[in-house]
């Protein structure tokens, strides 16, 4: 007998579980199918999830307590012209300044496995079923209509809708004729090392910042400019990730010998970059090495971008839909956004009794209308680094890096971020309170490793802690929440023109940036003692504060009764 579900989700990675959770919450009979033995076993990544993923992603992530390795305050770029001569520039202008940092962040670093497990548990708690160690080998089509999946043992599972969250290779979507295999120049292979390091050393040496290395191709300290993501270093809690990635094919049809190249870049940077050679190398040892590819340039090719993301009875999300971003090489936010949209459309379609392509087109419309997805998959900054190399112009390289991964980011990311902000405020102005609480809750979570399903969520709070900060927080945030609620009708109205006016934010930034840059440079030195003092005070407050202060739903700090659910078997 064939099993029947409302929704079958292929893959329990970042996108799959988010979609399954929403469908299950809506009362749909939902099944996630995952090929690995444990959820997250096969998900390999960087990984910094940029802040917009949390602000505008699924509610349960924003309002919950996921596992983090470290908040990150921004990027320090090493622009290397001659590594042997020590000729390099540093651009560290894309960082959240103190006192906002480290509580207000640029993003959060995390390992994929615990994060994906956390999400899958949430989906299972919501009522979704999960089958691990199960590979989907095909999609069932009846007269062109997708009506379920085929498993490796030949058994069939039927569903009203399939949500395909199989990741970047898209083997099933290619097999079903919904999408085509990507050309190798659109794919970047990432070689990743995981180094263990003492937290105290990490706090001192890398702190909260990511390090990106850019250099002339002949320096051989990073993959060729614009032919991949580059070379990056991520600080985690007690470890560092080192990642370099390189497109599978270069101009002129050339397929590089990646094993040789990666070895060369890795050896050069770890033995020549002073930060690594002098500070990191003596204090770390390698724990893991792995690799995985991602679709770095799919959004830049009109033909590839045009490929379908839905068909009769099926919706593709995340990497499977070609949504990996070329801007920051962050695919998780888009996986979450698309999962959220796909679940909404699936719920609507099932309720309407129409799961055909004409109805599911809503999904594509909403993806196309998503300011952050569209900006992040089609930004040309990374690709343009090729021109800097061609001209071999230092100023050009510095300019491109600044524009993409320095303060210049604001000239192209501000409009989409503001648009999303006002879109959310228009729906519910009180979201601002949830955002603020999220920053504080997440920061406390990182300090105490107290994410959902861990015992430390129930830690004893010092009854003798100073309470003034808590009272101030309650008054400020509570007062603000009250005002937002009272003025909600007016704020909702104002959010409409603000949304449309956001369009001028990017061009305005272009004019303002030349003024902002020197002002920021001058002010940051004298203001830094004050910023540091205030920031330390906030951190001390968050460290000791009653966690319920930062909860969105009271009582969330209680450990889930299903905390011991075994995700290993179905």
């Amino acid at each position: 007998m064939e099993d029947f579900y409302d929704v079958v989700v292929i893959g329990a990675g970042f996108g799959g579980s988010a979609a399954a959770k929403k469908c299950a919450d809506a009362g749909l009979k939902t099944l996630m199918i995952e090929r690995s033995e444990n959820v997250g076993d096969k998900v390999i990544s960087g990984l910094t999830i940029p802040i917009y993923g949390f602000l505008f992603g699924p509610d349960f992530i924003r309002d919950g307590n996921p596992p983090f390795e470290r908040p990150t305050d921004g990027i320090i770029n090493y622009i290397i012209y001659d590594i042997d001569a020590g000729d390099m520039d540093i651009d560290d202008t894309l960082r959240v300044p103190r006192p906002f940092s480290p509580v207000v962040t640029f993003g959060y670093n995390t390992y994929c496995k615990p994060f994906c497990e956390w999400q899958a548990r949430k989906a299972v708690d919501a009522g979704s079923e999960l089958r691990t160690s199960t590979t989907v080998v095909d999609i069932i089509k009846d007269n062109g209509m997708v009506s379920g999946v085929v498993l490796e043992d030949g058994s069939r599972i039927r569903s009203k809708i399939v949500i395909d969250a199989e990741g970047s290779q898209g083997i099933l979507a290619v097999k079903a004729g919904i999408r085509k295999k990507y050309p190798p120049e659109a794919i970047s292979l990432a070689d990743t090392y995981d180094y263990v390091m003492d937290k105290k050393d990490l706090d001192r040496i890398l702190g909260y910042s990511l390090r990106f290395c850019w250099g002339w191709d002949e320096q051989k300290i990073a993959p060729p400019l614009g032919h991949g993501n580059g070379l990056m270093v991520w600080p985690y809690r007690n470890s560092v990730h080192f990642m370099q990635d390189h497109c599978l094919r270069l101009d002129g049809n050339k397929v590089p010998n990646l094993k040789k190249r990666f070895q060369e870049y890795h050896d050069n940077i770890t033995t020549k970059l002073p930060l690594w050679k002098e500070e990191i190398a003596p204090r770390c040892h390698v724990r893991a090495r792995m690799w995985e590819g991602f679709e770095i340039y799919v959004g830049l090719d009109p033909e590839l971008k045009k490929m379908s993301n839905h068909d009769d009875g099926i919706i593709l999300i995340g990497d499977a839909a070609g949504l990996e971003s070329t801007e920051l090489c962050d695919g998780v936010p888009a996986a979450w956004f698309s999962a959220d949209i796909a679940a909404d459309v699936a719920i609507e379609a099932i309720r309407a009794g129409n799961t055909r392509k004409d109805f599911l087109k809503k999904y594509d419309d909403r993806i196309k209308d998503h300011p952050i997805i569209q900006w992040s998959i089609s930004s040309r900054n990374r690709y343009n680094l090729r021109y800097a190399q061609e001209k071999h112009d230092k100023r050009l390289l510095k300019k491109y890096v600044h524009y993409a991964w320095g303060m210049g980011q604001l000239t192209h990311s501000l409009t989409p971020i503001l648009k999303m902000t006002f879109r959310f405020i228009k729906k519910d102005p009180a979201i601002v309170t949830k955002w603020i609480k999220m920053y504080f809750r997440y920061y406390q979570n990182w300090l105490h490793e107290s994410y959902d399903y861990t015992e430390s969520r129930n830690r004893i709070i010092d009854p003798g802690r100073p309470k003034t900060g808590e009272a101030v927080f309650k008054i400020l945030v509570g007062g603000q929440d009250l005002i937002l609620k009272i003025l909600a009708p007016i704020i909702k109205l104002l959010a409409i023109p603000a949304f449309y006016l956001s369009i001028i934010a990017n061009p305005a930034m272009k004019i303002l940036l030349p003024v902002m840059r020197p002002v920021y440079k001058i002010l940051r030195v004298p203001l830094s003692p004050l910023g540091n003092w205030l920031s330390d005070k906030v951190v001390r407050f968050v460290d000791r504060a009653d966690p319920s202060l930062f909860e969105v739903t009271p009582g969330q700090s209680i450990i889930s009764q299903k905390g011991s659910i075994n995700l290993k078997k179905d």
């Binding site: 990544s45 080998v137 397929v255 390698v286 893991a288």
Partner: protein, 89 residues
């Protein structure tokens, strides 16, 4: 059975994958692209045809499949619950 490899710490390979990558020799042009992009050293060229040397160090990235212009590499996933796994990705 679970296997590890000295060159790739922190990764485990669970036995029983089956032949999830196959080569169609009649289509293979022997260009060696699959070998060039494979970080697990899984490929070799014998008599001007690509052959899989081992799948024991394959991280299932599908790079060999992407770079095969001739369409000679048939890539699918290993049997559920087998193949590589890591806690550090």
């Amino acid at each position: 059975m679970i296997k590890t490899h000295d060159d790739f710490p922190g990764v485990e390979w669970i036995d029983g994958t089956g032949d999830f990558i196959r080569v169609n020799s009649s289509k293979c042009t022997g260009c060696g692209n699959c070998m060039k992009v494979c970080l697990g050293d899984c490929w070799e060229i014998v008599d001007q045809k690509a052959q899989i040397k081992t799948l024991a160090t394959c991280m299932e990235c599908a790079s060999c499949w992407y770079v095969c212009d001739a369409g000679a590499v048939d890539f699918s996933w290993p049997k559920g619950g087998t193949g590589y796994r890591s806690d550090w990705g």
